[in-house]
Symmetry: none
Subunit: 402 residues, 2 copies
Amino acid sequence: MDLNLMRGLSVSTDSKIVLLVLDGLGGLPMHPFDRTELEAADTPNLDALAARSDLGLSRPVAAGVSPGSGPGHLALFGYDPLKYEVGRGVLSALGVGFELGENDLAARINFATKDESGRISDRRAGRISTEEATKLIDLLNQKLNLAGVEVFLIHEKEHRAVAIFRGSGLSDVLSDSDPQRVNLKPLPVEPMNGDAKAEKSSELANDFIKQANAILAGYHPANTVLLRGFGMYPALPKFDETYKLRAAAIAGYPMYKGLARLVGMEVLEESEGIAGEFQTLEENWGSYDFFFIHIKATDAAGEDGDFRRKVAVIEEVDVLIPDLLALGPAVLAVTGDHATPAKMKNHSWHRVPFLLHSEYTLPTASSFGERVCAGGSLGVFVAEEIMGLLMGHALKLNRYGA
Amino acid sequence: MDLNLMRGLSVSTDSKIVLLVLDGLGGLPMHPFDRTELEAADTPNLDALAARSDLGLSRPVAAGVSPGSGPGHLALFGYDPLKYEVGRGVLSALGVGFELGENDLAARINFATKDESGRISDRRAGRISTEEATKLIDLLNQKLNLAGVEVFLIHEKEHRAVAIFRGSGLSDVLSDSDPQRVNLKPLPVEPMNGDAKAEKSSELANDFIKQANAILAGYHPANTVLLRGFGMYPALPKFDETYKLRAAAIAGYPMYKGLARLVGMEVLEESEGIAGEFQTLEENWGSYDFFFIHIKATDAAGEDGDFRRKVAVIEEVDVLIPDLLALGPAVLAVTGDHATPAKMKNHSWHRVPFLLHSEYTLPTASSFGERVCAGGSLGVFVAEEIMGLLMGHALKLNRYGA
């Protein structure tokens, strides 16, 4: 999206936009002749909505490229994810409410399990409990001692935490230690340019890992940490300036809260679960004109390869659609930030189903699924265009040119 | 395709990719309510494959623009054909195995027939035999004498040859002498910028044509030459660096071999005919992880306006598909570099049918043809994205961002 164009054309109005993101919504059939998760789900409300909506498939980042959650969401918010790079560490730091400063270097930590040969046998340490992880984080915070910098370790959820290195002369041009697959040894963190700051920061990170290994040596399954997504605070154009929107985010997972804060959304305190998120929407309906609602459970089910559970989450969301529509949004879009097919147990590059309901649509089907979206009136388009479509359908953009 | 992105994300794996290019595959119905060549062809194997594949239509170069073979293939290989310009002469020179140097200027030569008024009556001199053309090339090599440069004339096939001008201060910013249609006079070669090198090179080329006309004056039908596709050696990023692929090319026609060499593919010695090309693939299966197979006969039939022959070539390829699949490619894509509808007897700008088979597809049809591709899950996309799709489906790209 051309953000300057948006800035020039956008106007503030009373109409309300809801962007409902089912993380990793896009799917695949488990066998060539079957249906995808979304096609298989029993979704009478989304189907009825599709019959009054524009449909299409959106492509995040680039052909064949599987996006991480950061780039996937930046594209949904209208930012070119190849231009605006945000390390996952930054998102995590913001997500846990850490006040990131300009000199801070943030990184994502996973507790992981390594076997006797030093290879990673579980990249998530069996998804250890929050209780157990919190204890280990406290232990690390107590014992770690890095030369010349302060280190803050903050627990996120289960096996996930974030590290912030505070000191002068740091750089985020660093490779990950996470080998991305099991049965491989962790990688050394390496500087990705010749800069002295990157060199120094990589030494710091490797020293951190070495100390953490020593501290965790007696524990199981969390006997090591993997670092990835190094990032320093990025300057992103803000939602209120670009789109003139008073934007609110409702998300159950810290990283998505962090991402929303980064683009200037206010993060609302949500009640428990998917129904809780919709309840939070209803309670705050009068105070904002843009709502980003993030549902994590679709992605989690996809990553676990659990086709049935992903279907069930989609059906759980479907039940809540009538109450959402009753609030009277001018625009309701339902989509994902990327595909996470249960078949692949991973994020994928596949194009993502997109539904946009407003008073001004050209419906092409009476159900919601990947294949009807392929034949929809929006065709296949890049995900960065979504914000423009939402703004247009909400009548929040002035005409371009006389 | 963003080649830097590919370079950053690509990983070498054992999975194998086959890119099967039927040159000029895209077609049109001869009459509005008829079928295209591909739709009319009896292709049980491609149809069965389509039912397990992603389908789409690819757009080379730009809307409404008919690509030459060079730009058409560069786009297939992931290179922006508007950024990476390669004169056809360069491809021809590489195709005949000529060791092109940095100071060499290459151009394509067609033997042609001009009538008494100086107009071109046949742009291919009746497709004169290789035997006859070779004699004329020898004669020209013997008698041509250009001031300050060496000239090498090398015969290609039938009416086609390549000229290489070797000397200092040459430029390829030159227009063609080929008027592209019959009953027009050949055009003078003109410099296309104000550069002194282009000026000098145009004079050289026009002097070359003048001398050739004098030498060929007594011959028929090859009584003149047309020059086109001036080019100097271009620096293209190589396949092994960009995609980390050990790539091999199987092509029966010198120009496509040359193009494959230019991007760093190894050119395999192929057996005769289409079946011979597939046999070469089988014999070399273990030694590479990317195969580009080029079938010229579809384009040749289209250029001759021979709808039935183009259908027959497609059917000949179809028969060989099961053996290819039996080799077990992770990804098999079947497409063209551009359309050559028999109806137009020429390359055209039309979008090109594209089929991609892998384990991770979202099939939308049970046949392969232009119109089912238009409704496919890949939609209409730019041809440069094809390499990204192949790499993604072969699981040869890391995730982008965390």
